[in-house]
């Protein structure tokens, strides 16, 4: 009954062409290894969902996995642009992608609404912003008690959510800590959940009220040490800031990017930070 699996098996079994796939992790615990496996398995026409589509989505978009992007901030944090994302949006390379663009707050509301089984969520948002005019997924309702105008966004219920966590036990219960972002929300919002972890332990021994996902809500747990690099895993390894800086240069040029992906991802090599 364990949900333990290899990463290639988990991606093969649960991620299908055309799926809506969310990869979450707010700077911390970004599931890079899982994204690379999706690239290697050449999944296509995915709707990719992520608040902060940073380097991992730049790579997936550049390698042609994405048909559509749902997001709120797409940049290389602390560095600048995502060149592959920009190339897709500005120049349709490798092919055009659709964009469903919101704000951070609205994304979290869409995730929590889905986790809570609601069709939509409400927030005080988008007043005076041009975003609402460009996105039919942002509507407004009136509070039935005060009449106040409130923004509403539809729940985001991905086919698969993928997150990285520090630890799981042998039964597949998962524990993450530190900056936990929206990982619990997206895991509970999605139809299936794949979790890569740094470590498998005998007993989670998690503190009270810690961020724990019980095994029975997790579709597959994959033991992938270093699976968040070049982002970081609190308690395990630090963020490889030099990689993010180097990525700017690697990703600027189409051929350079493809060469790097072939050498570092497609051949199955683990990413080692030497961009």
């Amino acid at each position: 009954m364990s949900n333990l699996s290899s990463l290639p098996d988990a991606i093969r079994s649960h991620v299908h062409d055309g799926d809506c796939v969310a990869l979450e992790g707010f700077t911390h615990l970004i599931p890079f290894a899982a994204g690379h496996e999706i690239i290697r398995q050449e999944k296509r026409a995915l709707t990719l969902v992520r608040m902060t589509p940073d380097v991992i989505f730049d790579q997936m978009i550049g390698m042609g996995c994405a048909k559509r992007l749902v997001f709120s901030w797409g940049g290389n944090p602390g560095v600048g642009s995502l060149h592959r994302l920009r190339d897709a949006v500005e120049k349709n390379f490798p092919h055009p992608i659709e964009i469903d663009e919101r704000s951070h707050a609205a994304m979290t509301v869409s995730y929590t609404a889905a986790a809570a089984g609601l069709p939509c969520g409400i927030l005080r948002g988008f007043l005076g912003s041009d975003l609402a005019a460009h996105n039919p997924n942002i509507k407004f309702i009136d509070c039935p008690f005060t009449g106040e105008r409130l923004a509403a966004v539809p729940a985001i219920r991905p086919d698969v959510a993928i997150i990285h966590a520090q630890r799981a036990d042998r039964a597949g219960n998962v524990h993450l800590w530190g900056i936990v972002g929206v990982q619990k929300e997206i895991a509970l919002a999605a139809k299936k959940v794949i979790v890569t972890v740094e470590q498998i332990v005998d007993d989670l021994n998690a503190p009270s009220n810690a961020c724990v996902l019980p095994a029975w809500v997790v579709t597959a747990v994959c033991h992938v040490p270093g699976g968040a690099a070049p982002s970081y895993a609190h308690g395990y390894y630090d963020r490889d800031n030099s990689f993010y800086l180097a990525w700017d240069e690697v990703s600027r040029d189409r051929q350079n990017f493809q060469r790097w992906m072939r050498a570092n991802v497609m051949d199955g090599m683990p990413i080692n930070g030497d961009a």
């Binding site: 911390h28 920009r86 005080r124 041009d130 530190g178 929206v182 929300e185």
Partner: protein, 274 residues
């Protein structure tokens, strides 16, 4: 010690943060300014980052919004969902510190596109947390380098509302908070005029002339009648800022040198405050 224009901008922004204020901080110069304030005149300022770290006291500057240093020094670390709902939308933030690619005459911010939205000339990173920070913090401070392409007559896209078309148009759009109270650049400080809400220059940094500001601004910028000159950065301000930057570079270069994944077994110990 003589401050560079960028240092002056950071120090002027830091000065605007009142002691014990609750501040929602973006990464980059806002983060630098907020921490400088905390290390100088505002030791009890409460810094909130959108990664969910509340009451952080980093000893070095984070390079990303979700840096481990932020989590380790925080009073509490909550989900990103909670930080936007209970803390920002809940009305607990007094000052939002924002940057942007463009700011216009009425302090509207653009961080979405240059050119047309559907086929943009430049695709910028996007909104992130900014629309709600601009709408829900009691006031916002905007930090931006002074340049004609950045301070424009009208932004190509309003990502985050300032005073919209000026006058009471912000209020009429349903926004209940105060809006931007200052735009701090490397040349000057602009503030909204009380009725028109048009940004006017209220303060020139040392050595900066009206002409320099006028030439670097994308609209016919006006100057306040009681225009003042920015107080020269003190030695304490400048040395604190430089020491913070030095420690930051040092810390992050050490990290880079030690990137091998390592295993620690006690998560509780790891994340407890030092």
């Amino acid at each position: 010690m003589v401050a560079t224009p960028s240092e002056v901008m950071t120090i002027v922004a830091a000065r605007m943060l009142r002691e014990a204020t609750v501040c929602f901080v973006g990464i980059g110069i806002p983060s630098k300014a907020a921490n400088l304030a905390r290390l100088t005149h505002a030791p009890n300022a409460v810094l909130i980052y959108e990664s969910g770290t509340i009451g952080t006291r980093p000893s070095v500057l984070p390079l990303s919004i979700g840096d481990g240093e932020l989590a380790m020094t925080a009073d509490t670390v909550v989900s990103t969902s909670e930080v936007f709902s209970y803390w920002l939308q809940g009305g607990r933030v007094e000052v939002g510190f924002l940057g942007a690619a463009q700011v216009d005459r009425y302090a509207n911010l653009n961080s979405t596109v240059i050119g047309n939205y559907k086929s943009p000339k430049v695709r910028l990173p996007g909104a992130g947390g900014a629309p709600e920070i601009a709408a829900q913090a009691k006031e916002t401070l905007i930090i931006i380098n002074h340049d004609r392409r950045k301070l424009v007559e009208k932004v190509d896209f309003i990502t985050s509302a300032g005073y919209l078309d000026g006058g009471d148009s912000r209020e009429r759009a349903g926004l209940k908070t105060g809006g931007p109270t200052a735009v701090i650049t490397d040349l000057c400080v602009l503030r909204p005029e009380s009725l028109t809400r048009e940004l006017v220059v209220t303060q020139l940094h040392p050595g900066i002339t009206r002409q320099m500001v006028a030439e670097a601004t994308g609209w016919e910028v006006r100057f306040a009648e009681d225009l003042i000159e920015t107080e020269v950065p003190s030695d304490v301000e400048l040395s604190t800022l430089r020491e913070l930057e030095r420690q930051t570079i040092l810390a992050h270069s050490n990290e880079a040198a030690d990137r091998t994944p390592f295993i620690r077994t006690d998560p509780t110990e790891e994340v407890a405050r030092p």
